[in-house]
């Protein structure tokens, strides 16, 4: 079992609810895809290639400020639950964690993590550098990851083409290699049925959305990851500015939708919010999806000032620790144990009781 306490804030500093706009935006991530010109890209690489990439990066990381104290996880030596745990913390992709279809962990797959930055190694690209921040903080997340990029790029030969820019395994990432995403909670737009229009509008201006766990994941609990679709033909700053501008717009729409709900259907909204709270507070079994949806209701209630005694930190903690691998580790059972939904309900009741000072 890996000791996640080794990670600063258990790798969850981004979930502390302290960042800008954190009542709506959970976290901001900026990732840069980079490859070494000296080796075949990962999908065509041999195990020896990947070991060499890992060894090169780990060696030079020690010389840098941004990664010299990084903790290295070799995913190809970790148990499935541990890999799932890192994935649930948004530190590694589903593919790198070996949780895709088929479930294979690539030899040489690894994660380096220090403070708010991380490097996935031997993912689809040799290096996926990422900066993670709490709340809506595109500039700060980019500054973090840019520092890692500069320090590593001075020591390792990145694949770069004068016209196409940074070269990546998939042509959809070429150029800047930058994908910025903002994880945002939009229940107001969902309830007012405006969400489809907003998402279609975003697609028209070159943005895309994904679910809670990024590419290929489902939308649960009204959490959407908004990100740039293209990576070439615009500078890093232009990509960030464009996404930032559009996210601010979406935030304004969401706030507006919430006001409309409070004005036009206050009883329905109050009922929805308190029903969600009631179920979380007293239910005896809870599936993960149900928990996410109920937490969405309570988060909306907190945002609207209807529920006052539950803090954002508690909501974020519930969001993280009710995920299957987290809960399983916490409870000392397997993530696929049928008992999990009972344990989940027990855990949620306990945390909410501590928060409100009453046992249920």
């Amino acid at each position: 079992m890996i000791d996640l306490s080794l990670l600063p804030d258990g790798g969850m500093a981004w979930l502390d609810g302290s960042g800008p706009e954190s009542h709506l935006v959970l976290s901001t991530r900026v990732r840069l895809a980079r490859n070494l010109s000296s080796h075949c890209f990962t999908p065509r690489s041999t195990a020896a290639d990947r070991e060499a990439v890992l060894a090169d990066v780990v060696a030079v990381a020690r010389e840098t400020v941004s990664l010299r104290n990084a903790i290295t996880f070799r995913l190809d030596t970790l148990e499935r639950t541990d890999r799932q745990l890192l994935h649930e913390r948004h530190l590694i992709s589903k593919e790198l964690a070996g949780l895709g279809d088929p479930e294979i962990v690539r030899a040489g797959a690894a994660l380096l993590v220090q403070d708010r930055t991380g490097v996935m190694l031997n993912e689809e690209d040799h290096l996926r550098l990422q900066g993670l921040r709490s709340g809506f903080a595109l500039e700060a997340a980019y500054a973090d990851v840019d520092r890692v990029d500069t320090e590593l790029g001075q020591r390792l030969p990145f694949a770069f083409h004068p016209e196409f820019g940074y070269l990546t395994s998939c042509p959809t990432n070429v150029g800047t290699g930058l994908r910025a995403s903002v994880l945002i909670h939009l229940p107001g737009l969902v309830l007012t049925k405006e969400i489809s229009k907003v998402l279609q509008g975003l697609a028209q201006v070159g943005l895309t959305f994904r679910g809670l766990y990024g590419e290929g994941s489902e939308v649960v609990g009204n959490f959407f990851q908004l990100s740039n679709q293209t990576t070439l033909g615009k500078s890093e700053q232009e990509l960030l500015d464009h996404l930032g501008k559009m996210v601010r717009q979406v935030i304004a729409y969401e706030e507006q939708a919430r006001q409309v709900l409070l004005r036009d259907v206050p009883t329905i909204i109050e009922d929805k919010v308190w029903r969600a709270y009631g179920l979380l507070r007293y239910a005896r079994t809870l599936s993960f999806d149900e928990t996410m949806n109920l937490l969405s209701g309570v988060r909306l209630g907190v945002g609207l000032g209807l529920i006052e005694r539950v803090g954002l930190y508690t909501l974020n903690k519930l969001l993280v620790h009710t995920q299957p691998a987290h809960l399983a580790v916490l409870e000392g059972i397997r993530p696929d144990d049928p008992e999990l939904s009972v344990r989940r309900a027990h855990y949620v009741r306990g945390l909410l009781a501590d928060e409100t000072g009453r046992r249920g």
């Binding site: 016209e163 895309t208 070439l232």
Partner: protein, 169 residues
Amino acid sequence: MRCDQCHERDAVVHLTQIAQDQVVTLHLCEKCAAEKGVESGASVGKSPVGQFLATMGKGMEAGGAMPGPGSGGSCPGCGATLTDFRESGRLGCATCYRTFEASLRDLLRRLHGSSRHLGERYAPPGEGPVAPADSAIQLRHQLKLAVDTEDFELAAELRDRLRAVEGEA
């Protein structure tokens, strides 16, 4: 994950809809998604690659000439061919981008609306200072090449960039 519609093929498009105040996500295969006329973020991103790769495949199967010089054969860096790219959607190594440059330029324009990197410049360690993003001399040279090869789309882009650079000077 199987397609919610046909229950046969793998779902590749995840369509989020609103039904009775609930977000419902439909998982569809390419075919069923196309039949529903779905253009999700994922399918918008995917379709140009798909179309382009399909076009390349046809050209190869028919033995037709591949677009642009230097795009045929296999990559000297990793041995990958355009057929490999068509099948996997992934390039084999950095050299592939030079080997299949002309084909890729076209694909990148379709995917990103441009083939020109405007972000940070980079020089590998030990290769001297980072080259400036655009110099008028470089751009004029590239413009001449584009006109000579009758790549008018690129020529127009380069002309605009040249004007911008000369305007700044």
